[in-house]
């Protein structure tokens, strides 16, 4: 099962994309986008994992203890926060779209404005 985490990544990505393509509600679509983005966390943390290694924090362990890659962890960390803020922005757009067009169905929105 050496590649299992990467198969999970592909699965999360595919499920999220399928949700976006078939979505009938803007809020649902935004949630699917979050699912797509979650696959990047699994990928980043999976790529940097080292079997038997500890977290890269050396407060009470020696500097030469084997530890996992800290760079991908830093990337995942900022990713989570930025994603939350961008989601808020997208939800704000959804609120205004509902006010302006009276619907949250992306397929109806397409027929209203090209």
């Amino acid at each position: 099962m050496q590649y299992f985490p990467f198969v999970v990544v592909a699965w999360i990505l595919a499920v999220g994309l399928y949700g976006i393509v078939t979505s009938r509600h803007l809020v649902h679509l935004i949630m699917c986008l979050i699912v797509v983005q979650s696959s990047t966390y699994v990928l980043l943390l999976g790529v940097g994992y080292v079997t038997g290694a500890v977290a890269p924090y050396f407060y009470d362990i020696g500097v030469h203890t084997p530890a996992v890659d800290p760079v991908v962890q830093a990337l995942a960390l900022t990713d989570v926060v930025v994603e939350a803020a961008v989601t808020a922005l997208l939800l704000a757009f959804a609120v205004q779209a509902h006010k302006r067009f009276g619907t949250l169905d992306p397929q109806e929105l397409v027929s209203l404005k090209g």
Binding site: M1, Q2, Y3, F4, P5, F6, A10, A14, L17, Y18, V21, T22, G46, V47, G48, Y49, V50, T51, G52, A55, P56, Y57, F58, Y59, V63, H64, A67, V68, D69, P70, V71, V72, Q73, A74, L77, T78, V80, V81, V82, A84, A85, V86, A88, L89, L91, A92, F93, V95, Q96, K99, Q107
Partner: protein
């Protein structure tokens, strides 16, 4: 495009994506066999070089500091975007934030919610502050601490009402805090340039004990500013969404 056609186009595209993904997977080192060397080098040199024992923070605020400036400004822009998108539009009016039907029977917030929110507000502020100021020692930092600090204000909203939330987090103060947080990070970088050093160079004394709160120079300071920025951005976003729901109405 009809929904069924859209689905077929998606399935065709997804099949191509899966094929390329599997092809790429073959060349990837297996799970748990991270080949390095970059992460291993950082793990070995970060503690002696920066005196920070939290290497993830050292990466975020020192080795990749320039990237983190960019990420922080994405957050800043997103918060500004939410305020702009949720402004009062033409043909809308803003209700005064007072109860217009003072004699109606308002269901009171349940005592359980009120008590729990009040109980948690203090500890949440302490934990958020602690996280934002201990990036250099352990798994914490401005991003995590800032989000938790912002939840303290949401607890105030849960236990009381919108008016109290607004009094605790006036928009002007939140705006200024956010600007200080984002600007402080950039200013630390520019200060290094003013001293003739590279942008975001760690010019503060690093301390002698790795993992001490006073160690790691600018890493701790930048993390603190990031904490301010993240907390203010999230309070601003939540405030704007609540204002949109509670105060903005159609009509003149």
């Amino acid at each position: 495009m009809t929904p069924s056609l859209r689905r077929w186009v998606f399935l065709a595209g997804a099949a191509g994506l899966v094929a390329f993904y599997l092809w790429g997977l073959v060349g990837l080192p297996g799970f748990g066999d991270y080949p390095g060397p970059y992460g291993f080098i950082v793990n070995h040199i970060a503690v002696p070089q920066t005196k920070a024992t939290g290497v993830v923070s050292a990466v975020n605020f020192e080795y990749r500091g320039f990237d983190t400036v960019g990420e922080e400004f994405i957050l800043f822009t997103a918060a500004a975007g939410v305020s702009i998108v949720l402004r009062r539009l033409r043909g809308e009016r803003q209700r005064p934030a007072v109860d217009e039907a003072a004699d109606r029977d308002v269901p009171a917030t349940s005592s359980a919610v009120r008590m729990l929110a009040l109980l948690f507000t203090g500890p949440v502020v302490v934990v958020g502050w602690w996280l934002a100021s201990h990036a250099q020692t352990n798994p914490s930092g401005g991003f995590q601490g800032g989000v938790i600090l912002a939840t303290a204000f949401i607890l105030v909203y849960l236990s009381g009402e919108f008016l109290v939330f607004k009094r605790f987090s006036p928009v002007n103060l939140t705006d200024v805090t956010e600007a200080v947080g984002a600007g402080g990070f950039a200013a630390i970088g520019v200060s290094a340039v003013a001293m003739g050093l590279p942008y975001l160079y760690n010019f503060l004394p690093l301390g002698t004990t790795p993992g001490a709160v006073s160690s790691s120079g600018t890493i701790a300071l930048i993390s603190f500013f990031v904490g301010l920025e993240v907390a203010a951005a999230f309070i601003l976003i939540v405030g704007e969404l609540l204002e949109q729901t509670l105060l903005i109405r159609q009509g003149q």
